[in-house]
């Protein structure tokens, strides 16, 4: 019993509940003094949540291992071992990486299930089993949870796990901050699920006011959740930036960083510099609701357009937070499994930074039809099209790397190659949306839906699976099943194409997006799309089965099953607690294939030793 009571999650939960009621009582007291009712649902939930959040992170370990120090007490040591580490406040970047990965894979599957319900509803015209309101709730939930997955899973999961090892560090620069940012995630998920149970909210993941100021209470929980999530992103961004700038091993110069580290660095720059805009926008919506401000109420001088600018000022760069680490993973896999150095390394790294710079000045292409000042159309058209130049260099890196390589077509390689194809589709169709004339028609249609699923799912999520299969033996110490992996790949790839290619056409034809029902004329195509989507959904059964069985019963993996040259493969699988007994000294680039110097490979006390020990 005492073991349960002392479990960090239990303590966190109790303090969260105490915090919530404290917050409610605090606000209620103030309101009563002012002659208002004690309880008002939206203000009550908001203030209660702030205290609940503090209670939660304090209870889950923030106080024991950190907060005590601020009051002159000694921080408690980390005592959890084995699987229990994953359910507590652990500063170990590898534990945190697994925490992020598993949490977000679960959310991904849950959100994917929601997508299946959405496709079931849209299989025919007319109302099937969702009311329009329930449909909007499901669509909104799918939108924000998948956005959160896309923002966090690569950086939070692989970034945490591999960036320190790949640069030869023992941990992240701020391990406790790292743990803290992870433990902000469960409240985000809980809030969104409670919001759905309360009937949901109907403003999508974009939460455009004035709708988001006047709709149901679920919107408040959405705003609180996403602001909290923004905090996760900012704190994570700071941690990666500092880690990569200051924790690199001797000799690990900027031009010797593995490309995934560059992707993580570029994405972190964006997280760090832009996320505040999103948080500010959502906070303004929240204040319009609970504090009678009028940022967006036009009747009181507010402007709905203001929000769109603020929102996209973050949310366009955010797509690069999603996809830059995806570029990194895919290029990493392409290089190691073609056994060739990354082609045009400096150009690719430069392109990533170029994308970061351009990402901040293209947001208004989401606003071509918004009624913003027309003279802004031309400059944003030009700036947006420019982003095709650095993106083109990423493609050059990809195809130059596999050119004349020795392609080992294992599951991760298949996913990485599919990434190139899918992102090509996504990139090419993006040009139509950057071009003002065509965008005027295509904006808010299924063409857009297909386009961003090609970039984010076809791009980032395919790269995610490339990474999952590639690094699975390193993280778990066991090998996944190759046949199941390939089955997963082929069904997912074919299902994905069959789902999203018809969406381009039905969008051009005039089917707008985010609708619970559509004119009967679009019915045939939607039936095809839904059937294909079920195929896509079914592919994940193979994935889940493969992961679950391999994690516990899979063949024990060697330290370096791919014979790859980067540092993470030179330590044991899974890596030892502090990664390296002795910090490695780096003398050359990470891709020493084809007879080149491979000084990521041998280092004092490294690979050979770790491999033999297993």
């Amino acid at each position: 019993m005492t073991r349960v009571v002392r479990a960090p999650i239990f303590v966190g939960l109790v303090l969260a509940i105490v915090g919530f009621f404290f917050g409610v009582a605090f606000l209620g007291a103030l309101r009563t003094l002012r002659g208002q009712t004690f309880w008002e649902i939206e203000a009550g939930m908001s203030v209660g949540y702030v205290f609940a959040l503090v209670g939660w992170v304090a209870g889950v370990g923030g106080w024991q291992h950190w907060g005590r120090e601020w009051f002159g007490l000694e921080a408690k040591p980390y005592t959890l071992t084995g699987w229990k580490r994953y359910f507590g406040f652990s500063p170990d970047h590898k534990v945190i990486g697994v925490q992020y990965s598993v949490t977000f894979v679960v959310i991904f599957l849950l959100s994917g299930l929601t997508a299946m319900l959405i496709r079931l509803e849209l299989m025919r015209d007319g109302e099937q089993f969702f009311t329009a309101d329930q449909y909007n709730a499901a669509m909104s939930f799918h939108g924000i949870t998948m956005t959160a997955v896309a923002v966090a899973i690569l950086l939070g999961g692989f970034g945490n796990y591999f960036v320190p090892i790949m640069i030869g560090a023992r941990d992240m620069a701020f391990p406790r901050l790292n743990a803290l940012s992870y433990w902000f995630v469960p409240p985000v998920a809980v809030l969104l699920i409670i919001a759905v149970l309360m009937g949901g909210w109907d403003s999508g993941w974009t939460a455009y006011p004035p709708l988001s100021v006047v709709n149901k209470h679920g919107q408040v929980l959405f705003n609180l959740a996403v602001i909290t999530f923004g905090l996760v992103s900012i704190l994570g961004g700071i941690n990666f930036l500092v880690t990569i700038i200051y924790e690199r091993a001797p000799g690990m110069t900027w031009s010797r960083l593995p490309i995934f580290v560059w992707g993580a660095f570029a994405a972190s720059l964006i997280s760090f510099f832009f996320t505040q805009a999103l948080a500010a926008g959502l906070l303004m919506v929240l204040l319009d609701r609970i504090a009678d401000t009028s940022f967006f109420r036009s009747s009181e001088g507010g402007s709905a357009l203001l929000y769109e600018h603020v929102f996209w000022f973050y949310s366009h760069p955010a797509v690069y937070v999603m996809v830059l680490p995806g570029f990194g993973v895919a290029l990493e896999v392409l290089s190691h499994l073609s056994r060739k150095p990354l082609f045009a390394y400096r150009w690719v790294a430069g392109a990533m930074i170029g994308i970061v710079l351009l990402s901040g000045v293209v947001w208004a292409h989401h606003l071509f039809t918004s009624g913003m000042a027309p003279y802004l159309h031309a400059p944003f058209l030009v700036l947006t099209e420019l982003i095709s130049i650095p993106t083109g260099l990423i493609f050059l890196g990809a195809i130059g790397t596999i050119w004349a390589g020795k392609l080992w077509l294992r599951t991760p390689m298949l996913f990485a190659l599919a990434f190139v194809f899918n992102f090509l589709m996504g990139g090419v169709t993006g040009i139509y949306l950057a071009d003002v004339p065509t965008d005027l028609h295509l904006q808010d249609t299924y063409f857009v839906v297909a386009h961003f699923h090609y970039t984010i799912v076809g791009g980032e999520i395919f790269a995610l699976f490339a990474g999952i299969y590639y690094w699975f033996p390193k993280i778990t110490g066991r090998m996944y099943n190759e046949t199941l992996g390939k089955l997963h790949f082929w069904i997912m790839f074919i299902g994905f194409q069959l789902t999203f290619i018809p969406m381009f056409r039905v969008g051009i034809q005039g089917m707008n997006r985010r609708i619970a029902d559509y004119p009967a004329e679009y019915s045939d195509y939607n039936t095809i799309i839904s059937l294909a989507a079920f195929l896509l959904g079914a592919s994940f059964l193979f994935f889940v089965w493969n992961m679950a069985t391999a994690w516990f019963k899979g063949r024990v993996a060697e330290a370096n099953p791919w014979r790859a040259t980067t540092l993470e493969w030179q330590v044991s699988s899974p890596p030892p607690e502090h990664n390296f007994d002795e910090i490695p000294v780096i003398t050359d680039t990470p891709y020493g294939y084809g007879g080149g110097p491979a000084h990521h490979r041998p280092f004092a006390g490294g690979a050979a030793l770790a491999t033999e020990e297993r």
Partner: protein
């Protein structure tokens, strides 16, 4: 290496040709909704121009993937490494130059030229006020004091340039008739204009593209916030307008 380049050239030509064929015979012929307005031509032409230009670029990446997968498979690291090609020479420079050039072309045509064409519309012959609210449209013909409501039709004359003043009474909506292509959001309390010149007679009963569809998420009724559109000859439009006036006066 030489055979790689030969295969690359063949696959590139095939993929490019196939893309162009799909563009010409499928996208151009059967994918667009009815071209119901002058402006729709500009937009569809831009779409096709982009598709034609994208085809050879698409072909380059696909051909590279095909060559690598067909000719350079291995069964594992025991087969040895690929050639040490670092890409530090002139290839990235050429690639960068070409892609910048292509980007510049796409920006000018069909981007800026298309934008200029859309801006450069005729003086409007008719002004119509389209007012959005959750979840219906109200259409007003201010010059003839006629108003039609959600369940009725938006009736328009053919071959006249129409200025739509689009505004919302509550939250964001968007004014969009697929047959006319252009879209503009309805902002609460602020009027935005869009100019459309219908060129084809048509109606919602026979063509799904003739509907005024809200295209900005506006809550529970968003999907059904659509109004049938009917484009008629000018004479018919005038008599329809007269009829509506007499109906309004009779009330």
């Amino acid at each position: 290496m030489r055979r790689d380049f030969t295969l690359f050239a063949i696959v590139w030509a095939l993929v490019t040709a196939a893309s162009l064929a799909v563009a010409y015979f499928i996208i151009r012929e059967i994918s667009f909704p009815t071209v119901g307005a002058e402006e729709a031509h500009v937009i569809d032409d831009a779409f096709m121009a982009l598709t034609y230009m994208a085809s050879p670029v698409f072909g380059v990446v696909i051909a590279a993937l095909v060559v690598a997968v067909l000719r350079h498979r291995s069964s594992g690291p025991a087969d040895g490494d690929g050639a040490r090609i670092l890409g530090t020479g002139s290839v990235p420079v050429v690639w960068f130059g070409l892609s910048s050039l292509l980007c510049a072309i796409v920006i000018v045509y069909p981007g800026l030229t298309g934008l200029w064409e859309l801006r450069n519309h005729d003086e409007p012959d008719l002004r119509i006020v389209a007012t959005a609210q959750m979840w219906s449209w109200t259409i007003e013909y201010p010059d003839s004091n006629v108003k039609v409501f959600g369940a009725q039709e938006l009736v328009l004359p053919k071959d006249e340039t129409i200025q739509f003043d689009v505004v919302s009474l509550d939250i964001l909506h968007s004014f969009w008739v697929p047959a006319f292509r252009q879209k503009i959001d309805a902002l609460p309390g602020q009027t935005r204009k869009v100019y459309i010149t219908p060129t084809e007679v048509g109606d919602r009963d026979s063509d799904v593209a003739y509907r005024l569809q809200c295209a900005e998420l506006c809550g529970v009724g968003h999907a059904i916030m659509a109004m049938p559109v009917r484009v008629v000859e000018k004479a018919e439009f005038e008599s329809w307008l007269k009829e509506q006036q007499s109906v309004a006066e009779a009330k």
